[in-house]
């Protein structure tokens, strides 16, 4: 017998309310106050937390880049250079390391960073000589541009 609509006087009890509530509360356990215990308050806080975590992924990239720049600036100041001149002279010497790698080098390989700072300083001097020296000194070694062989 085909039944097109179920009997409307049937009632069914919700039996897994506990687990449905726990699904939300498990993300709220480290919150402060009643919103880590009470479902009604937790639902709102958990939803806002998810939204914030989604939006923060874009901010995280900016934040980390700013952190790397601060660290590179502090490390290059130890070697007598400021961050803008360090980065620009490295780029002019065709050293294309990104800020994350240079920051890691500054922390874990301080001698390598010192040599990078020395390279940037020398390129800076060569730049000054080329601009102010009026052609009497020979062209600097680190100012030569290496073109790709392929």
């Amino acid at each position: 017998m085909v039944v097109l609509s179920g009997a409307r006087w049937l009632r069914c009890r919700l039996t897994d309310r506990f687990w449905r509530v726990q699904e939300v509360l498990k993300y709220a356990r480290h919150f402060r106050g009643r919103k880590n215990r009470c479902y009604k308050l937790a639902v709102r806080s958990v939803r806002r937390a998810f939204v914030k975590s989604t939006k923060a992924r874009r901010e995280k990239k900016r934040f980390l880049r700013a952190l790397w720049i601060t660290r590179i600036g502090a490390a290059s100041l130890e070697h007598g250079l400021k961050y803008p001149s360090f980065i620009s002279n490295l780029l002019k010497s065709q050293v294309e390391l990104n800020r994350k790698v240079i920051a890691d080098l500054a922390i874990y390989e301080p001698k390598t960073f010192k040599s990078l700072a020395a390279l940037a300083q020398r390129r800076r001097q060569e730049g000054f000589l080329a601009a102010l020296g009026d052609g009497k000194e020979p062209e600097g070694i680190f100012s030569r541009i290496v073109h790709r062989q392929y």
Partner: protein, 163 residues
Amino acid sequence: MCCVCSGSRGTGAMTSRGSPSRFLTSVLHNGVGRYVRQLQRLQLLFSPTAADARGARQFVEEVAVDFARKHPDVVLYVRPCSNPTPVLVAEYLNGTVREELITSKTSEEILQLATKLAGQSGLDIIRIRKPFHTDNPSIQGQWHPLTNKPSILTVRGPRLQAQ
């Protein structure tokens, strides 16, 4: 605020403190010396008559023996029994047990799933904080505040004081 969408939240949300996270590791530095497959056994539980276990039955008939030959260190148990849903249970050397439902999957899909499980280690599938890991991050010595200072600041001892 309306309720968070319940039901199919299988993968879990990616809040940093709300959900668990771990660092990238391998089980006991697997692969540095010998590579040991971390999958211990695969149990295929299916019913011999149900309609949704058809893919599982085809897998057992056609492909399971080849799979077992290709992965000699994995023990494959095939169990026809009257459980309601066909299930592929993977147990790993560190004790993790992972159950995958294979209802209404074709035998190629089950083979793909089994190969994927065979390649996994039993570590939790949660957010990995960094996609890299080293035990020795520093070769030249990690920076400390006295790294780039003149060494007179670090030298101590009776020889210095005598001068």
